[in-house]
Amino acid sequence: MNPRRTATGGRVNRQRPVRFTFDGTAYTGHAGDTLASALLANGVVLAGRSFKYHRPRGLLSAGLDEPNALVTVMRGKVREPNVPATMIEIHDGLTVESQNRFPSLAFDIGAVNQLAGKLISAGFYYKTFMGPAIGPLKGTRFWMLCEHVIRRAAGLGRAGEAPDTSRYERMNAFCDVLVVGSGPAGLMAASAAAEHGANVILAEADAHAGGSANWSGETIDGMLAADWAADMAAGLRERPNVRLLRRTAVWGCYDGNTLVAVERVSDHKAKAGPGEPRHRHWVIRARSVVLATGAFERPLVFPGNDRPSVMLASAAERYANEFGVLPAETFIVFTNNDSAYLSTISLKKAGANIAAIVDVRQDVGEAMRILASEAGAELLAGHAVVATEGGKALRGVKVQRFNMTSGTVSGEARSLSADGLLMSGGWSPAIHLASQAGAKAEWDNGLQAFLPPAPARNSRWLGAGAFTGNFSTGGALAEGHAAGLAACGAEPGETSLPTAETTLGSPEPAPVFEIKAPGKAFVDFQHDVTVDDVRLAHREGFVSVEHLKRYTTLGMATDQGKTSNVAGLAIMAEARGLPIPDVGTTRFRPPFSPVSLGAFAAERYGDLRPERLTPMHDWHVEHGATMQPAGLWFRPQIYGLAGETIEQAYVREAAATREAAGIVDVSTLGKIAVQGPDAAEFLDRVYTNMFSFLPVGKARYGLMLREDGLAFDDGTTWRLGDNDFLMTTTTANAGKVMQHLEYFLDVIWPELKVSLVSVTDQWAGAAIGGPSARDILAACVRKTGVDNKALPFMGIVHGTIADVPVMICRLSFSGEMAFEVYSPADYGTHVWEALMEAGRPFGLVPYGMEALGAMRIEKGHVTGAEIDGRTTARDLHLDWMLSKKKPFIGSAMMDREGLIASGRIQLVGLLSLDGRPLGGGAHIVEAVDQENPHGSIGHITAACYSPALGKYIALALVEGGKARHGSRAFISDPLRNRYGPVEIVSHHFFDPEGSRMHG
């Protein structure tokens, strides 16, 4: 039996021991325990070290608001840091480590930070690491070194390096009513909606439905509230239209009632069931939402309020009633409100000694006085705790008289002995999800809390229970029922509601948040923000809540300030002499509680991109191609021979093409069928040059601009019939061009009768070029001639290759006599192989993207590297394509001052003068300065070794461009440490007259 375990009561199964280890020590708990309750049952109160000062910390709460007891769960070598001990259900073999301590939790070297407390107050980093502006350390990296050491010393758990081997999954769900929270209000709401036939999802963050009913010790309908809740939950589970999700924290509320949740499916098991993921991520679209998320009890702020065994009154009550654990033997209760008296009685019934109740209020109601005497506690009304005593565990407290009006303490300090101090500073409704949905919280002066506003008439969420500030169980039952009906559009009818034992006392706390006395008093436990930090922020002018939060990091820890926000605001309000609502509150952001990264990713890890493969893909791979991604496509980079470098391979391929013939797969080019009576007119509007005069059976190179006059895309368009064009685009822009054309047809020119169909995947394309290209085609093409007369430059013919119908257009990217052969995609490999076969006697070689790139650089053709969204047609020497006979997209804007200014970057060629390669992205400068690179006049867009010239060459965009032809410049490439002289030349390196392709 655990030393602190009660004989009876709670949900734990005392017959079933569970063994786990914490920091290497083996402990035994019971089935039904959380790690928190099991540690307390074993008398372990030291659970962690604080973020900044390394102060010893114990459990503050019993739920997901826990800021102190954050631990690392070990699953083999996989570490999961920063999990609240309150949210871990123990199972046999559970292995847990404490955090932020070295060498051990009990003896932590980092605790010296407590001595330096004054030095490391809020803003410490900003003030310190700007570095000394004067003195011997000026300009040194000394502070950077310190920062490294200090950053290691502060913090939470350490992330692991082993890959997470668990499985995660994601789920989409739809429902009429989503109820968040399964306390009395949530259970009533779910049940009312379900009875009216609504599809209901009820999400509960804890392991069991019931919320406060599990530990309030109250009675509902004459039964223990916990049993009533269990019955309700069992009833709901039997309904086919209800899905009860336990261990499921709803962490976000997004547009259109899309709520997101994470379900801890198998964390509580020693071994996940077959097919079970560890976590399951839910995206739930709900017609309406009932928020029954309850409320968080607030700590009081006083010196030493963070010592282990100082905890929230409701937390102790929950440990006693739900888990059968008394966190201490003798308690002192410190409160500003009545709810703590009810917790006291609960604990007394569970067997605890209550030494005293310290109440800041002088006027304590008669009912509460009776409860205090029933609990056997001395009532110290008009008193406050001013200090706690003990080391890593509480020994006692000091109390003094307290004047609520002046907020001051006076008189002799009296010492009281106890090993547990319970505090209650009032309650804050968990309004996070409503705040995420855009609701602006309203301050309630009576309840001293921010409440959600009354939902607007057409609001997509409703609230019930403590969430709305209605803290009585009877109220929660009634509100839950009403919200459940309203959520599914049912009229409120005559129903007999369950009756709850009346809650005694007033829900309104005294407006006291802080006891001013010497010593560190913590506001935000998880981020170690003290009351002095908040005042410092005020003194230094960070007075708005947004600044306060960022300057002190108040409320920015993983608990999102669940226990600290309101006290922080109250202290700032007092410093500014303003009422709390005038200081305001920050808006809550998702996630409400931490979500594992695995759950976000679920099965979506690794390379998620779909792969687009051309019809000839397998052929390339079988013939030694190195495949290279191009967007979603894969294209051959080189067809390397044994022992060849990439450069050797592409030089061989390009040289062979210029000497005999080469073939390249161009199936990836975007292809759009533009058809209809207005197709020619449409093309005239979208291209800068004329297409309406293009005869049937001819192709033309076209350029498109954007609306702002900059170059957009280029490609050839083939006229297959009067009203039938085949447009090709660059591989990269295929989707964008399609969308661009669709936009203009649908939005700007709906009167044009044109239809657009993407046919990229319908056609396989092979470009065959070189002096022997025509002979190769002549050897295999049937049903059409391919001579100069039948197939002139830019001509199109239809024929067959190996009995497959093909479309051939004579156009050239390589600068050679070249043809693009299009065949139905399914026959792509068949036609390709026939071409290869026909080309064998001529020395035909397949070539990849590197050779294609080298040949286009030699020819000075532009691609996406030059049409980069910043260049105009003129910059690229394409102004000959700008028709003056018609308006086109971009024609009005392309002549703006800045776009025609002299000195703009312009396309040029570069020759390497030191015989070494040039690199894409390198800057061009007039003089090299390696120490302080500056004075860029342009950059390299593409570079290669030119087999035709026998030199390293590049295309570049250089200021002044053409005017610099024949002049010398330098490349400056500090990243690759490459500097060297180049000559600026025309971008037409090779065969500028085009005699080879016109042949």
């Binding site: 969308q739 669709e742 649908d746 308006p887």
Partner: protein
């Protein structure tokens, strides 16, 4: 966010592509009024409230839709074809 495409029904945001401010008026193609072109290409209202927008159902029927969306709440108060219903394809209708 859900957008109710008049052709396909309510669909998730991820199926749509934002295609810009729906309040823009394109000058006549031959217009040389640079101010008007400037306004069309660059000027945006950026209202806090209802905003007239064009979305393409790029992951569906590819229609362009005129959507009125509240920029503060993301609430969508109307959706229609940009072409107008007369031009729009009808479900099941042959072209």
């Amino acid at each position: 966010m859900l957008i109710t495409c008049p052709y396909c029904g309510p669909r998730d945001l991820s199926e749509f592509t934002y295609q810009g401010d729906g309040n823009r008026t394109r000058p006549a193609p031959a217009s040389q009024d640079l101010d008007a072109w400037n306004a069309y290409v660059y000027d945006r209202l950026n209202p806090a409230g209802d905003h007239n927008e064009i979305w393409q159902h790029s992951g569906g029927c590819r229609s362009h839709l005129r959507v009125v969306r509240n920029t503060l709440t993301h609430e969508i108060s109307s959706v229609g074809f940009v072409r107008g219903d007369a031009h729009a394809r009808k479900p099941g209708a042959r072209k």
